[in-house]
Structure formats: C-alpha cells, structure tokens
Amino acid sequence: MKEQLSALLDGELPAQDCDALLAAVQADAALQDDWHDWHLVGDTLKNEHPILSPDFMKRFSERLAAEPIVIAPVAHRRKRDVLRRAIAPISVAASVAFVSMVGWQAYRGAVQPPAAQLSQQTASAGQIDKSRVRAYLAAHRIDNGNVFSNPDVMTVAYQDAQSR
C-alpha cells in the first residue's frame, strides 16, 4: 500500500488503482502522514526551502474544522461529466434527426404547393416550428460538442422555414 502511494505521488500508479488507494489514505492516519512527509521531502529536494512554520498544517486543520462543510451540487461534480460525455452523441443524433425532419418538411412544402386548407395548416405548423427551432437551437448552442450549434446552421434552417 505504501509503495503504491509512493507511485501515486509520482504519477506512476495505474488509473484503475487510484480510487481505492485514495480511499485507503483517507481512512489511514499513517498513510496521511506519509503523504504529508513525502511531499515535504519532495519539495525540499527540489531546493524549495520551506517558508511556513512546520506546524502550518496543524493550525490550518483546526481552522478548517470550524468551517461549515461545503457540499457542491452533484451537477458540479466530476462524475457528472462522465454522464454528459455519454449523452453527447445521443444529443447530436437527436439534433440531426430533428433538423432533417424540419428540412424535409420545408422541402415538401416548397415543391408540393398544398391545397388551401393544408396550406393554412402547414403555415401554422411552420409558425410553431420557427419558434421551436429557434429555442431548440439556442438551447443547444451551449453544448460545445454539438455540430449544429453553429449559427450558420441556425440561419439556414430559419430562412428555409420562412421561404415557404
């Protein structure tokens, strides 16, 4: 375990062992002292003469103990990123499907002048589509992984809908 901790400090521990080791460190005061002392030794060997009092950490811990515990919203935590990364391709696929559908509707509207009743229906549908498309695309512009976040794509889709 100690040798693993030493490798961890050097960035040489396999990533899959990292979680278990850090959990062990948190549960074991002796490993925490090793973490503390080995970092001190490392910094000292790098010619970094210590500036702080040697008991800085002890006094900091006393102060930290008086602090209310912070808990970040789960959405901010790292695990969440994994979920986001997993969802990104699906959201791209959904965007492709949606824009294709809008494009196809616009195309059909342009080449097949519909009957009066149908025309009115399409026009009102187009009205809804326009605002929905704008809102949808606006919402998706914050997603950097989305190829349809480009404003040009939005303009084309918008003009297309208007040209009917």
Partner: protein
C-alpha cells in the same frame, strides 16, 4: 496501462472534498502549501503575513469549492485565489504589491528560495525549517547509492520511472521500489523532528 496523472489525482480529491470530505481537501493543502506560500513571497514580505494569507487563501478556496468545475487544473484555480487573497489583503491595508521585481529574474522566475529565506521566515520556524532541510540532505547522502540515484532522478530531475529504469539499467518495478525505500528512509529520519515540532499529530 493508463496512469493516474497529477491532475487526475487532484480532481479525484476535489470531487471527494466537494462531496463533503474535509480530509480530502487537507491532503490538497498539505501538498500545495509550500508552493502557495512561495508564490505569495512575490507580493508580501513579512513571514507572519505570508503565513496568514496562505491560510486565508486555502480557506477561501475551500469555501469556493462548489464553484470549481475542473475546467482548469486545481493548482491553476488555487493560484488565482491565492493571488487575489493577497491583493485584497494588501488593499485592505492600503498597500500595493511591491516586491515582484526583487524576486524575479529576467525570465520572470522567482530566484532560488535560499536567497529569500532570511526575509520570509520567522526566526522560530526558520530554525525548524533549516533543521528539516539539513536532515533531508543528510538522509539523502546516507542512502545506498542506487536509492539515492533513483530518488534524485525522480525528485530533482523529474524523470519518469521508465526513464529512470533506462538510466539505471533495471526494471521499472525496481525503480518503483527504490524510490519508495528512499522516501521511507528520508522520512524516517525526519519523523522525530516533525513530531517534536507538531507535538502529537501532523494535522
């Protein structure tokens, strides 16, 4: 096999701290306290003030943890908080940061800490710190040669285990074991000193 990088490890400790684990945050403080204090020597001269502002910066970082989302490395984020804390501190006293020119060479690097210490340590902590430095150096000198070479290549030259293995013509597993044994030996010599300074526990 993919290795856990320094950034991965920091991110994991941050995630644990964000989930309410103060000890995870203390591990980060323990790791970065000297780098932050050193950074602050560019802005503040008085050793007591450096100590106070360093502590304050870490407390501010702890309170701001919910806003850290990992876009930058933890140290980069911490660095900004420390600089801001120091500037706010100086502003509250009506002072301006004044020292940077004295402590940076032409490349903007800070000068060797050895040149700075008399200004930046309190007499009592300076005595302990000098003892720490001399104890570490003596412990390294006393190491068997293969341990000394391994820990030196790692800590002072920053080589990877793979490079050290090549330089020392031995397997990577041997490098790992030598560096670990070197750390154990050096820290072993240091322990009595640290125990006497911190009385019972380190933290």
């Amino acid at each position: 096999m993919e290795k856990a990088t320094e950034r991965d490890i920091d991110a994991e400790l941050v995630a644990r701290a964000q989930a309410g684990d103060k000890r995870a945050f203390e591990l980060l403080v323990s790791k970065y306290q000297r780098r932050i204090a050193r950074l602050l020597t560019r802005l503040i001269r008085d050793p007591h003030e450096i100590e106070d502002v360093t502590q304050e910066a870490f407390i501010k970082a702890y309170r701001a943890l919910p806003s850290f989302r990992g876009e930058s490395a933890f140290y980069t984020w911490l660095y900004r908080i420390a600089i801001n804390t120091a500037k706010n501190y100086l502003a509250s006293l009506g002072r301006r940061p004044q020292l940077s020119a004295d402590y940076e060479d032409e490349e903007g690097e800070t000068l060797d800490a050895a040149a700075q210490i008399p200004d930046h340590s309190t007499p009592e902590s300076e005595l302990s710190n000098r003892q720490i430095v001399s104890t570490v150096n003596e412990a390294v000198d006393a190491l068997p040669e293969e341990l000394r070479t391994a820990i030196t290549l790692r800590e002072m030259d920053g080589l990877s285990y793979e490079d050290i293995a090549e330089a020392m013509n031995c397997p990577i597993g041997t490098v790992r074991s030598r560096i670990f044994r070197a750390r154990e030996a050096i820290a072993g010599k240091l322990k009595p000193l640290l125990d006497s300074v911190s009385k019972d526990r380190r933290w």
